[in-house]
């Protein structure tokens, strides 16, 4: 009983039976639980619905059906009101595959803008937080640069700072290193590793097996719009139960070896 209660208190996000079709079924009943401090890696082949899952729970796409319990409140994923969506987004961060930094704003302005507009902070407060966040991702030297003057890895670190700025309950990462040149992947992953150590709750759609194995504590393996297997990271990697998971992990391992 007591254990149950502690567990309940820790839960930050629960998704129940989310469904979404475009022409075909992209999400076919996915459920997921995330506790505070979890780093959940979502793995799976292209087209398995990983990205759509993230986009649906931040309302960049509207799910056909499904519920979400976030920060103690229940939301209907298909019919959330504008107000509810705004409320959720103020407590979450999102990091895109292709960074999506505001092109007409400097690195610092990128981090500040959400704070001054959506969160109602003064310019001074926002600037103070903005600089702190850029220090956290090691970008304080480039705070007055425009995105076009930064490398992909630097842009992605600024994007992480921007997601961190309002002190969100959870940050979603949508393939954060997939658009990067190989030599730039490390700097982004090390920032994410640092966040994990600091206890930030994260859901990371990724193809980086090392990150999933060593940084995340939970792994979700998706294929064809369903979760094939999920569990603690070391269990899934050491001892996968499903045939498809084994095959996927073997292929990924070969791919990584081939690259190295």
């Amino acid at each position: 009983m007591r254990m149950e209660q502690i567990k309940d208190n820790m839960q930050i996000l629960e998704i129940k039976d989310i469904r979404k079709s475009f022409e075909t079924k992209v999400l076919d009943g996915v459920s997921l639980e995330v506790n505070s401090g979890d780093v959940v890696a979502i793995l799976g082949p292209s087209g398995s619905g990983k990205t759509t899952l993230l986009r649906c729970i931040n309302f960049l796409e509207t799910a056909d059906s499904g519920t979400m319990i976030f920060d103690g409140k229940t939301y209907d994923l298909a019919h959330a009101s504008k107000k509810e969506i705004a409320e959720i987004r103020k407590k979450t961060g999102f990091v895109f595959q292709n960074y999506n930094l505001f092109r007409n704003k400097t690195a610092l302005e990128n981090v500040m803008l959400g704070l001054t507009t959506a969160h109602g902070l003064s310019k001074n407060e926002a600037e103070k937080i903005g600089k702190e966040m850029l220090v956290r991702v090691g970008m304080e030297d480039k705070m007055n640069y425009y995105p076009s003057q930064l490398s992909g890895g630097q842009q992605q670190r600024v994007a992480i700072a921007r997601a961190l700025a309002p002190n969100p309950k959870i940050i979603y990462f949508d393939e954060p290193t997939s658009a990067l040149d190989p030599e730039l992947i490390g700097e982004v992953l090390s920032v994410m590793r640092q966040l994990a150590i600091e206890g930030m709750t994260m859901i990371v759609v990724t193809h980086e097996m090392d990150f999933a194995k060593n940084v995340s504590n939970k792994v979700v393996f998706m294929e064809k719009g369903v979760i094939v297997e999920q569990g603690l990271s070391n269990e899934v990697f050491e001892n996968p139960k499903q045939e498809r998971t084994k095959e996927f992990l073997r292929l990924e391992e070969n791919r990584t070896l081939g690259k190295g």
Partner: protein, 224 residues
């Protein structure tokens, strides 16, 4: 050039330039300012697919683009006065040029808005901003950067088009040149002279455009 012609040239230069400063420039500045307001509003209605308003804006653009400017001017001044709506020539010209230029610039702005990648909006939503905040801080500034060269083009085009206002008795530069030519019969001289003055106006605007583009390039907004 005979000294008589030279004297006429010098003498008429100020007589043409003065209405240029007093009529052509105010007409252009006023009409283009109104046109920009119309253009941004119409472009945003189209960009955001606002129901009811969008068909109205498409109708407006259809009418303006499908009829000659000179005819619009005639309707706006002689036509309106004819049906009892008393309007002076200058405000009529401002009205017609604003509506005409507004339709064309709206299409320029719409294209520029649509050129802003969708990811910019999504990023705005994800940091918690609402639609209008995103438009104001992110999309419109980027669209203006893209639209700046073609809008400058439109402005330069409009300076020259204001010569058509002579047809509705606005005493702008071309009107003044025509009057002097009619009196002195030195058509070639006067029309070349007024052409030269339009050329000077356009050249100055081209310089300003170049300067403005350099300023905006500091953003490097379209490189990344």
């Amino acid at each position: 050039m005979g000294s008589e012609l030279w004297e006429l040239f010098v003498d008429s230069f100020w007589k043409i330039l003065l209405p240029g400063l007093k009529m052509t420039i105010p007409l252009t500045v006023l009409a283009f300012s109104f046109a920009m307001i119309i253009a941004v509003i119409v472009a945003m209605i189209n960009y955001a697919n606002v129901p009811f308003l969008k068909p109205i804006t498409r109708f407006y653009i259809w009418i303006i683009r499908g009829t000659p400017l000179i005819v619009q001017l005639m309707i706006g001044y002689f036509g309106l006065n004819n049906i009892g709506i008393k309007i002076d020539a200058f405000p009529a010209a401002v009205l017609v040029f604003s509506l005409n230029e507004g339709a064309y610039c709206a299409e320029t702005m719409r294209a520029a808005l649509e050129a802003v990648p969708h990811g910019q909006l999504e990023a705005g939503y994800c940091v918690g901003m609402n639609y209008l905040q995103i438009m104001w801080h992110i999309v419109l500034p980027q669209a203006f950067r893209t639209a700046f060269p073609p809008l400058s083009n439109s402005l330069i085009g409009m300076v020259k088009d204001t010569s058509l206002a002579a047809n509705i008795t606005v005493t702008e530069m071309f009107f003044a040149a025509q009057r002097i030519a009619g009196r002195t019969y030195k058509f070639m001289l006067l029309y070349l002279e007024v052409a030269l003055i339009y050329l000077i106006f356009s050249t100055i605007l081209t310089w300003i455009q170049g300067y403005g583009e350099k300023k905006l390039n500091a953003y490097g907004a379209n490189k990344g």
